[in-house]
Amino acid sequence: MNETHTSATQEVCSVRVGDTLYGVPIAHVLEILGKPATQPVPLAPYFVGGLVHYRGEVLTAVSLRRLLGMEASKTPEDVLVFENPDGLFGLFVDSVGEVLHVSAADHEPNPATLEARRQALFDGAWKLKDRLLVSLEPERLDPMRLASSFPA
């Protein structure tokens, strides 16, 4: 996470969920799956959006919408593939946008007024010209970690 702050500029993959724009450092993104077929998992923790097929593996994908307590999307979602120490996992987002260059100088920490759950998920935000780009760190979205930090 430190590189977010130290390096002068950085490439982030912008993703949209609802009306908010989020940024994930591109170095963490293994692959982007465009609207893949998904398999819901009954009885799974609320933040699990389902399973996706990725190169012969079956990945558990976290739904950012569900994580944020938003309504489920009615249209198919895109999936970002991340790697964690135990393997791979996915993240459902409404759509994946372009790659943006952001500079560390524009980064601000989470405001104290932010709700606790979002405090834990977000890693501050970058100030873009006309809007904010919320910084997401894949590490915090690891399903195992979510299971322990956000028990249903």
Binding site: Q39, V41, L43, A44, P45, L51, G56, E57, T60, D86
Partner: protein, 764 residues
């Protein structure tokens, strides 16, 4: 060891390395002496002496010594080779004594001229080629160090092989430096001295084959690599499934598809084989364990092992190591009695523990059998009630087999009091959990006073399992075939009169017995199905817990590749993994055992089952069918499939009806005269029961399939002879269809050459 020797040359002071080599040679000496190979023993003994001096620092390794040792190795290998091919050491006293003399000289710290004389003979042993030119028959590139005699012509160019190693690699130049007689002098002796004394030396190509025996026919492969290969093969299986589905309409592609199918199956089998190891890998540690345990407990125990060559996937082998150790410990600790007790009970003082491994279908059975005290059913029952593992009322109703199952309950195990009473049970729940984790089963069978058999049933492989795909609320789920016993279709859904309710518990009346039902949609909290909507019951047997799982519908059986689930999803418990189906969709693999446990399906359901099992050897299950107006029985184990097909699919070979089934031709027995009766209507459906008769498959038309039921043997009054073609089903004497009476197709052409024809167009 060769590597060690050459390493030693670069690091002569390395004591650890020396110790390593010393140990190897010592082992060779010990083993060969033990096995009665005196020649090997004598040779390695002299090598050991020399190495001993090196190890103790009395000598320091120099190239002479190293090459002496390397040539010793060559001699040893030559002898080993001879053992490999002829089973005997072969004899060559002069060579041996020369070798030993050379090593002895080296012990005195001098490289003597004797070395020179020995050298060519060593070369002869290492390379028993018929001609002087053909002196490197054993693929030298793999073991450049072993090659003690490259042909002189090549030595100049031997650079790439021997550049960074000095002496031992190029034994020949070294020897030359020792001013020994020219190699040419040695050559004539070569043909005269084949190590393999089985006559004139064979041609070079035939010689290459046997030399690979000792070392080259196996190689070590990283397990990781094998895992990766297994994964890829799994992928290939999936892709194959998809291709087979996509191409099923095009005849040409279908052919290619079938070939792909075969190749994939073969490949999968080979990769799986590569992962197989004999169970002896695990068994080999048990003699010691048994000995130590028996000594510690002052008991006399003999261990017998059978079927050590049975092979099992490496990961599974690892997984059964602990359960087996545990079971053996139990057998000795609690099963086998003290010698005096045994003698008093009329048994030999020495107890017997027998380990047996064998194949059974797609499983490997590993049995731990002891002839100890066995377990007392009554004591287990009493103990289980005392420990409140079962309500007393239920315990009273339980049969022997169920009572024995109680020892696997967690909580039955730990307390000392229990073990001393029951004679068994420390951590049996752990044994079961471990075995179930790999998809296996544990069975126990015990007779008080006679002993106990613990049977582990292990699947051959973990990665690919046959499964039935079912639907529930628009989602796919895979049910492992291993636990599937039967399928029932309910056209009126839960309105079916056979579904009965006892308070909240839904039950299905299956052949007069009540079967607890689990509704998958409700279990998984999916949107519920309409009460009257048609559905299917998959009747599952999970470790003796029988229940019916209600699902929306059934799809095809498929061989699925088990993909692990992330830990967060494993915790749900109902899923054993996930898989990707032939059509590219995903499915969750259900874990019947966990579902049964969750639904509190008890083992009691098995009472009826086991009681019917106990009717004796004459008991069999039959498929009851109506043929014309009479009833007939088909042994259930022979029934492969029941198909409803349009009449038009039945073709004729000569006068005989045949059916194309899974790409092969099936002789049909038109028992129901269905084909005649319905005359011209090609759309009329007929029911064909496909049966297995020995190696072949045959079909039989029937009017109606009635039931599956158990039947018992009938004996002729007075004589006690077992009636062959009939059985008692539902208190009615029913004829058993004899499949062997359906004639085979092999001579159909000879019989009716004029009539034989197949329609050119396939009717589907």
């Amino acid at each position: 060891m060769e590597r060690c020797l050459t390493d030693l040359e670069t690091r002569p002071g390395d004591t650890e390395l020396l110790a390593d080599i010393f140990r190897s040679v010592h082992t060779i000496k010990g083993t060969t002496g033990f096995l009665g190979f005196s020649r090997l023993e004598a040779l390695s003994h002299s090598g050991e002496n020399l190495l001993g001096l090196l190890r103790d620092g009395k000598l320091s390794a120099n190239p002479d010594i190293i090459s002496g040792l390397l040539s010793l190795m060559d001699v040893l290998r030559g002898v080993l080779h001879s053992i490999d091919t002829t089973g005997a050491e072969g004899e060559n006293p002069e060579l041996d004594s020369a070798m030993i003399a050379r090593l002895d000289k080296l012990q005195l710290g001098e490289a003597s001229p004797a070395v020179a004389a020995v050298e060519p003979e060593l070369a002869a042993v290492a390379a028993p080629a018929p001609t002087g030119k053909q002196r490197r028959p054993r693929a030298p590139r793999k073991h450049p160090h072993t090659q003690s005699a490259p042909p002189p012509a090549e030595t100049g160019e031997a650079g790439p092989l021997g550049e960074d190693q000095e002496e031992p690699v190029d034994a020949e130049p070294e020897v030359e430096r020792n001013s020994r007689p020219a190699p040419a002098a040695a050559k004539p002796s070569l043909p005269a001295r084949p190590v393999n004394e089985s006559g004139p030396s064979p041609a070079p190509e035939t010689q290459a084959a046997p030399t690979s025996g000792t070392a080259d026919s196996t190689l070590r492969v990283d397990v990781e690599l094998l895992n990766r290969m297994m994964n890829l093969v799994g992928e290939l299986v999936l892709t194959r499934n998809q291709i087979l589905q996509a191409t099923s309409t095009d005849a040409n592609f279908a052919l290619l598809g079938r070939r792909l199918d075969m190749v994939t199956a073969d490949l999968r089998e080979s990769v799986m084989k590569a992962r197989m190891q004999p169970v002896s890998h695990v068994f080999s540690r048990f003699p010691r364990l048994v000995r130590d345990l028996a000594l510690g407990l002052d008991k006399k125990v003999r261990l017998e092992m059978e079927g050590q060559e049975t092979e099992l996937d490496k990961s599974l082998l690892e997984a059964i190591r602990d359960p087996l150790t545990h079971s053996i410990r139990n057998s000795i600790d609690h099963g086998i009695e003290m010698p005096d007790v045994r003698v008093a009970n009329g048994k030999p003082a020495e107890g017997l523990v027998r380990l047996r491994a064998c194949h059974e279908g797609s499983h490997v059975i590993v049995e731990v059998h002891d002839d100890g005290a066995g377990m007392s059913i009554e004591k287990i029952r009493a103990k289980a009630v005392e420990r409140q593992l079962v309500p007393p009322a239920r315990a009273e109703l339980m049969n022997e087999r169920e009572i024995l199952q109680l020892i696997f309950l967690p909580g039955f195990s730990t307390a000392e009091a229990v073990t001393s009473v029951s004679g068994r049970g420390v951590g049996m729940d752990v044994v079961r959990t471990n075995v179930e984790k790999i998809g296996g089963k544990v069975e126990v069978d015990s007779h008080a006073g006679k002993g106990t058999v613990l049977r582990l049933r292990i699947p051959l492989t973990l990665a690919i399992i046959p499964a039935l795909i079912v639907h529930s609320r628009g989602q796919n789920f895979a049910v492992p075939q291993a636990s599937l016993t039967e399928l029932v279709h309910l056209s009126t859904g839960e309105n079916d009169p056979r579904i009965e309710r006892l308070e909240n518990a839904a039950l299905y009346r299956l052949r007069g017995r009540l079967l607890p039902l689990v509704f998958l949609d409700r279990l998984l909290q999916q949107t519920p199905r309409e009460i009257g909507a048609p559905c299917d019951i998959a009747i599952l047997n999970a470790d003796g817990r029988r229940f019916g799982l209600i699902v929306d519908g059934l799809a095809d059986p498929e061989e699925i590749v088990v993909k692990p689930l992330a830990a967060v999803l494993r915790e749900i418990g109902f899923y054993a993994g996930a898989t990707i189906l032939g059509n590219g969709e995903m499915a969750l693999i259900l874990n019947p055992g966990a579902i049964a446990q969750n639904a509190n399906v008890s083992l009691t359901a098995e009472i009826e089952d086991s009681s019917s099992d106990e009717k004796g050897a004459g008991h069999r299950d039959f498929l009851v069918v109506e043929v014309g107006s009479r009833r007939a029985a088909l042994p259930l184990e022979t029934v492969v499939r029941i198909e409803r097909i349009p009449r038009s699919r039945i073709e004729r070979a000569g006068s005989r009806p045949v059916l194309r089934f899974e790409g092969a031709l099936l002789p049909l027995d038109d028992a129901a005269s269905d084909l005649v009766d319905q005359g011209g209507d090609p759309e009329a459906q007929t029911t064909v029961v496909v049966c297995r008769d020995g190696q072949r498959h045959v079909g039989m038309t029937v009017s109606q399939v009635l039931d599956v039921t158990g039947g018992s043997q009938l004996e002729e009054a007075g004589s006690g002879l077992v009636a062959d073609g009939i059985t008692l089903l539902h208190e009615k004497v029913t004829g058993i269809v004899s499949l062997a009476n359906i004639p085979s197709l092999d001579n159909v052409v000879e019989q009716a050459p004029m009539e034989f024809s197949l329609p050119a167009e396939e009717t589907r």
